[in-house]
């Protein structure tokens, strides 16, 4: 089966980040979530208004300020049947989980390496990339 993250709350690990920004949350998020903006910063999921732009570097609840970054290296858990492939383009599912690229889901990064036991994947995540698409006409 194709790459899919086995999501567990708090189960992601942030290995590297670009310069962080401080943001105010409008809902509960976990470290490693892709964040979108819809009347406040929220976990980016299905709604079209929740375009992924940042990566959460901390867990946080509504009303919390947390650090987030434009680019991060994130380690996630997989299973042997959903192991990632190095170089796989990573998309964000409608539930906010990471999975292999798929039509209709936003590309947010790629897989840089997989664990020796095939039970983890290290990804470069930069969700803003595919949102910045207009050129000067």
């Amino acid at each position: 089966m194709a790459f899919a993250e086995t999501r567990t709350a708090g189960g992601r690990e942030i290995l590297e980040t670009s310069e962080p920004v401080l943001i105010l949350l409008a809902e509960l998020v976990f470290s490693g979530d892709c964040l979108g903006y819809s009347s406040g910063w929220i976990r980016s999921a299905a709604a079209t208004g929740e375009h992924p732009l940042l990566v959460a570097l901390d867990d946080g609840a509504i009303g919390d300020y947390i650090k987030a970054s434009q680019m991060a290296v994130v380690k996630v858990t997989t299973t042997a049947t959903n192991v990632a492939g190095v170089g796989d383009i990573v998309a964000l599912s409608d539930t906010g989980d990471y999975q292999v690229a798929s039509a209709g889901l936003p590309d947010v990064g790629f897989v840089a390496s997989i664990g020796d036991d095939d039970l983890s994947a290290t990804m470069v995540i930069c969700p803003q990339v595919q949102q910045l698409t207009s050129v000067r006409a």
Partner: protein
Amino acid sequence: MAFAETVVDREVLSGTCPVRVKLAERVYAGACLAASSPNWILSAHASGETPLLVAGTAGEVNDYIKAYPLAAIKVTTTLANVATLGELVSLDDDGTFVADTANYPDVGFVTEVGSDSLSAELVVCPMIQQLDTART
């Protein structure tokens, strides 16, 4: 003539978000890397060699090296192939940097040209044009 890297003698000036990767072939510092799962190779002509990372150091087969999704790189040019500030940079079929060219992937742009016009500094982020699907 348009910008072209005439000698592969690159210096990686800085990089963001380093990752540790294993090589499946020899690469030089500053090379754009493509996956050849489970390892990484020099991104060149083959359609499967999509550029995603920049090698932080040189390395041999089976070496682990540090690589960056975003890096600043200094390259060598000649007076006849001097770069221009702001110019977009593509990746040639041999892995060298050239001026923006049809059918070559855009990987970055020129930020500085040496006072002697024999070098250029580039910002390279090859993954950008690979992440092209939006949520619908």
